[in-house]
Assembly symmetry: C2
Homo-oligomer: 421 residues x 2
């Protein structure tokens, strides 16, 4: 027997050597600048344990690459030579996020500091058209966003697209989007072929994953050890965050809570199984149970469509509507309790349509969690409404591009160097 | 907005500096020795990219600490000075594993190469006694194992105990073992107070977690990207392995698949909820449904107790027995499908009692997975029987101690140094 399984993969790859130290330390310095306000070089040296000379050289590279800017000498409390304060460059690189969902499209541009500089949503049922038609519309929205960014002097570093289905990220392949009825769509190639400049990095990811990341990065939560962000849309998906990182599972398909069985002999789902959560607690199931038309609904929780009507009736206390939402909350509780028992999380964030329904969902959901989660007696699961609501996925998509830049600045320096050469 | 959430914690802690390089490289060299047969110093240098002088110095330290031995000069194919072949020292440090389960106790001693040198199991219902009585018996078994190890010249580096419940590992605290009826038992302190030498490291972990690790390390599977090891005992637990590492969730409570709801209005569980998997597919539920007494059962799948009778009847094709197992397989399929949809794994390993029942469980389990797992059409989930069966948890416990030594040899060198000084 040998211990073939004993070593974390990262450890095996290479010994720690001087070559990788500079890339590591560039990222370390950039992270210090990203996570604090207006740091000086000296302060970075003291925070990181690096020498001041090393920090200065690293900072110079980051400034040169357009990732960091100097705010000018610090006035307050400086003794001796005035130090300049460093901050992320907010007029340099930006990330472009796109979301294709069942009944809307959205685009977002986010700067290095995480601020959304541009955000547009277009409501409309995407089930009536081919992938090419829908993605073509998304491309046109992306081009408008890129033009708007360019007009502000911002450079798009890459783009990420959120789609409602199972994604094989390496190939940019949407394997299956049950509610759109799409299979095997090469979303990454479609976008890369139609957007300039050529070679722009394109990420494809599941919308529930990117929504969870959006909520993590931009939701203002600072105390979430591990949470599941449940997106209630036409489909129901979840993004799982543990230790402030997205949990993706083996093939990147984790979080398909919409297809957890809540009624073993329940209604047939578009996936082929019976009694899936989204057949009971998805947007159309709720609208149907409330006596409202399902197909024309919008998941945006905005005026227009039957969701607005659902909300109005819930606020007015209309009994059939309240029963429909209550029954969805009960089913959601069974599925989320299974998820929490299996994955072990301390917080449930209600996103998408569930954000606006939270006042009515909370009680039945909390009751099921309290009855079914094994660790509940001494470590109760919290239930929160999303802070970003329906914007979470597109904001997360744009953020994912920016995060990639921040976590590996050496790659940007390298490509800037190659462009320069 | 600042990017407080943007950085992996490890990166924030410290810059890469020379201090940590030696510890890193010691681990790297030891891993090379652990994962290959009879390596020379020169071969390690070429595999790791470290200089031969550095490798020699690191190897000397590992030999001195008793972790590595030299097999003498390599005869075959050597040109110039003969090189000695290096291998893990199998007569030095060992790990001691203990398992306390609902109806048996077990202990195991494992050497650095992962071979079980000692393994004892004692069947008996632990629900009739206090935690002190049961753990006292486990301590006596551990002492016998340590005496046996000492007689072979082996030194116990630490111990790990597997328990059937929710564990807070840092405090060595068993929070809740529903099937034993125990709450808040300080298992780690109990063992540390009663076993010598004082200061011996003690790990406490959930039995399903350690069983999954046992299967990963000792099950001879080399192609498992991510799997769930489902332990069917009186309770039903799961250990989830992704990227060859155990997934623990936020508080270490992940894998409680026994409390996933499979019948929303099913029988009341010991945890307080209704329709939990273990009320339908746990050992006693199966025995009861087959018309065999539940309480006297053993989960060991060995002669004695009703499990032996269950197996005999299943082999004879007795209809009520087959129906009972089939119905457990159906329920197991619903719960495991939920787990796979949420966590995304490609393999299910049937452990504990389910190992011996696998021939009858496979078909209903596979049918539910095929109907309910969203990614199933192009990426089917495999179902395997455990290779270790009921020994998986205690072997995993002993292995966890050894793994800790192998992954941080600098700690052993440090403590050997302190002992020497």
């Amino acid at each position: 027997l040998t211990w073939e399984a004993a070593v974390p993969v990262g450890l095996r790859r290479s010994p720690a050597r001087q070559d990788s130290l500079r890339a590591h330390n560039l990222a370390l310095v950039l992270q210090q600048i990203a996570t604090s306000e207006a740091l000086s070089r000296a302060r970075i040296a003291s925070l990181t344990g690096l020498t001041k000379a090393t920090v200065s050289s690293l900072v110079d590279d980051l400034v040169q690459a357009g990732l960091v800017t100097e705010l000018g000498p610090e006035a307050r409390g400086a003794i001796g030579r005035p130090a300049s304060a460093l901050t992320l460059n907010r007029v340099g690189l930006v990330g472009l996020g796109i979301e294709v969902n069942v009944d809307y499209l959205a685009v977002c541009v986010t700067d290095l500091a995480g601020t959304a500089r541009y955000l547009r949503t277009r409501i409309g049922d995407n089930r009536r058209q081919s992938p090419g038609q829908v993605l073509g519309r998304a491309v046109r929205m992306a081009r408008s966003a890129m033009d708007a960014a360019a007009a502000e002097g911002l450079t798009v570093a890459g783009l990420a697209i959120a789609v409602p289905g199972l994604v094989e990220a390496e190939q940019g392949l949407l394997r299956l989007a049950p509610n759109l009825g799409w299979t095997d769509v090469l979303v990454g190639d479609f976008l890369a072929d139609r957007l300039t400049p050529p070679g722009l990095p394109v990420l494809v990811d599941n919308e529930a994953n990117l929504a969870a990341l959006g909520e993590l990065w931009f939701g203002g939560h600072e105390d979430l050890a591990g949470f599941v962000h449940v997106s209630g849309e036409v489909g129901v998906g979840a993004g799982i965050v543990v230790g402030r990182e997205l949990f993706r599972g083996v093939r990147g398909f984790a979080g398909e809570v919409g297809h957890v069985s809540v009624q073993s002999d329940g209604p047939r789902c578009r996936c082929g199984a019976r009694g899936c959560l989204e057949q009971v607690a998805g947007q159309e199931a709720i609208l149907r149970a409330a006596g409202l038309a399902g197909e024309a609904g919008t998941s945006m929780g905005q005026p227009g469509g039957s969701v607005a009507e659902l909300l109005a009736r819930a606020r007015a206390g209309e009994p059939r509507t309240l029963r429909a939402i209550h029954s969805a909350g009960h089913a959601l509780g069974i599925a989320v309790a299974a998820l929490v028992n299996v994955v072990d999380l301390d917080t449930v964030v209600l996103g998408g349509l569930y954000t606006v329904l939270e006042p009515w969902l909370r009680e039945p959901l909390a009751r099921e969690l309290s009855e079914r989660v094994l660790a509940q007696p001494w470590s109760p699961v919290r239930v929160l409404a999303s802070r970003l609501g329906p914007d979470a996925a597109v904001r997360g998509a744009a953020g994912a591009v920016v995060k990639r830049v921040l976590s590996d600045p050496a790659a940007v320096l390298g490509s800037a160097g190659r462009r320069g050469g």
